[in-house]
Symmetry: C2
Subunit: 380 residues, 2 copies
């Protein structure tokens, strides 16, 4: 086990009807800016529940934080928040709305252009934010991370600021989600777990078991969700899994990878592909190219998650990679770049970008431009 410091102060408020708790969780003397995405919350009843709960509070609204939230949009929100002297933020939406609101939270106390903060990578001087989650996927509701895009340059970078003070999760809000978004959320969650698990063996038995528990849960619930996404307990399990996959609970004392994510971010930046979907494509490439380095952990995953126990190590690794791809395809996602019309030009561009930035991703820092290209060639 590696030394670690864990601290997650977010209060999780989960269950049917819990959006009403907003009325008491936010002090009434706060000037709140509520941030939203495109408007689905007006159709599924979430907007009405939020407004009802906050009817005694002083609120303004900011609409239009898009998928892969852009600095261009967030600058407008920051300008409005400064003008209105906002001192509390409530993000109502999925990971993009929450991520964007994290940058707003830091931007409101920063005098320069908020893109400076993204390039710096982190900022802890922030105003408090809370969330009402509408799409389980990114885990942003219970961590301090965000990913911010700059559309004009097709760039997308991670940014770290504050944990939400509280997050409200009502599984019923997922009943009306488009199936493709659910599929991408499941894929995103699955790969979040693997970024913290598919690294070095024998670092922590507890973390291994907990990561495998989340993977086993996803494998078990995914087909059931495709049959019936109105089953409360099922969607509660999905929501729990997504939050627990990236709140630090399975990261204590173990190595982390994140190369698949960094490559996936480029595919989103360059082609607009949904984040979870990019991971479903890239992951098999990472597993194949780094099969030697990750051998012990891939074997353990194969055995404990997919029940693969016979054959040579090489065969078991092949079978585990195959089962992983099969899982993503069972969600209705494509798993090859060519299926999305992405070819060598993009692969070369990603190699060029990684080389230009001099990055070395992965638990051993092995994934540079050249290795990223090998990974992408595997999933062409």
């Amino acid at each position: 086990m590696n030394n670690f410091i864990f601290h997650n102060p977010t209060k999780l408020i989960m269950g049917h009807g819990m959006i009403a708790k907003l009325s008491t969780e936010i002090p009434v003397d706060k000037k709140i800016m509520i941030t939203f995405g495109g408007g689905s919350v007006k159709k599924n009843g979430v907007y009405d529940q939020v407004k009802e709960a906050l009817k005694a509070h002083n609120t303004i609204e900011f609409w239009g934080i898009e998928p892969n939230p852009s600095i261009e949009t967030l600058r407008k929100a920051i300008a409005l928040g400064k003008e209105e002297k906002v001192d509390f933020l409530l993000a109502v939406g999925g990971g993009s709305v929450i991520d964007g609101t994290k940058l707003i939270s830091a931007g409101l106390l920063y005098e320069g252009d908020a893109w400076d903060l993204v390039l710096k990578g982190n900022e802890t001087h922030t105003i408090p934010l809370a969330t009402v989650l509408t799409l389980p996927a990114t885990g942003s509701e219970m961590n301090s991370g965000a990913v911010i895009s700059r559309h004009e340059a097709k760039e997308k970078y991670p940014f770290y600021s504050n944990f939400p003070v509280f997050s409200i999760l009502d599984p019923e809000v997922t009943f009306s989600l488009p199936p493709h978004q659910i599929a991408c959320g499941i894929a995103d969650t699955f790969v979040h777990v693997l970024e913290q698990y598919l690294t070095k063996a024998n670092e922590s038995r507890v973390m291994d078991r907990w990561a495998e528990g989340l993977l086993q849960t996803l494998v078990e619930i995914a087909p059931k969700i495709r049959e019936n996404q109105h089953d409360y307990n099922l969607m509660a399990d999905f929501m729990m899994t997504a939050t627990m996959a990236l709140n630090g609970f399975i990261a204590m004392g173990v190595s982390q990878d994140w190369a698949t994510h960094m490559i996936g971010h480029e595919l989103t930046a360059l082609h607009g592909l949904t984040h979870g979907h990019t991971l479903a494509i890239v992951l098999q490439g990472t597993m194949s190219v780094l099969r030697k380095e990750k051998e012990a952990k891939i074997l353990q995953m194969g055995e404990r998650v997919f029940g693969i126990t016979s054959g040579t190590n090489n065969k078991r690794i092949d079978e585990t990679i195959r089962k992983t791809e099969e899982f993503f395809r069972s969600l209705g996602l494509t798993t090859r770049l060519s299926e999305e019309g992405i070819g060598m030009e993009t692969i070369d561009e990603i190699e060029r970008r990684f080389n230009e930035r001099g990055v070395h991703f992965g638990e051993d820092g092995l994934v540079d431009g050249k290795v990223a290209k090998e990974i992408l060639l595997q999933v062409l």
Copy 2:
């Protein structure tokens, strides 16, 4: 899944050499009272590490918080803390020292006798406390609970106050623990998990998997620890398991039992038996008497923790109970009251106490005096 609110603000600082972090984690303007147990920390080097880290701080010491911390001792600590105008507490010890310090933390701000607070059951008006854990077992280092005894009346009650601001866990401090204490710590941890798991089925797949992951870890590491308790990664796994077993991480949205604990507390109050040891005795009784109510969960535990998959349900339940008892005996613990010289007189007294208090413990409130007696008769 049941609705729930989860909030655990404790910062966990874990690993070799981490006690040195005390120097920066506690503000230098604080007047700190460091609380200790009997003195083992002077032999294993923990005391020297703590004093070295806090050499620039203003500290006083309170020694002698005993196993099953008593109000009689804690009153003295509270008096000293008030006199010295202490505004930060650092508990250095196992669960008893930490539990006792939680009551001190509330007692320092209370004008009456601190036993009032225990009888009330909770108090959130407290001064900050932090911990350096020396014995993995109770989980007190990352929760808000405590158990306080009144020796003169042989009483022992739960009390809830504040989460530690931070807790430092260095697995090396466990290398010198007496094997019986480790055995009791493992038993305590095992039963903590079961109090949150062996209840109703199908409430949360994630919580089930995580609870099972902790049980699987304990079953795997217990014999290895008996072979070599100086293996860092092994003891780190034990320490992690104990903390994760009772910090709320496996309790989200699921029913809880705690009847075994409440009966065990009486055995400690009346006979001084170590807490974890009482649980190793009582648990089989609870499983046997409530085998119908807990059937689905006992079967699931049998299958996923002990690999019991064949035979009728009744046979599988019998086998799971037998395996559980075998596990405790493999730790070197006795599992029957008579082995500890405890007989009918104690059973009758516990029945009388439960009846007098009118309690109904367990996830369905079924465990009153009569059922407690049935449970204890099973393990006579």
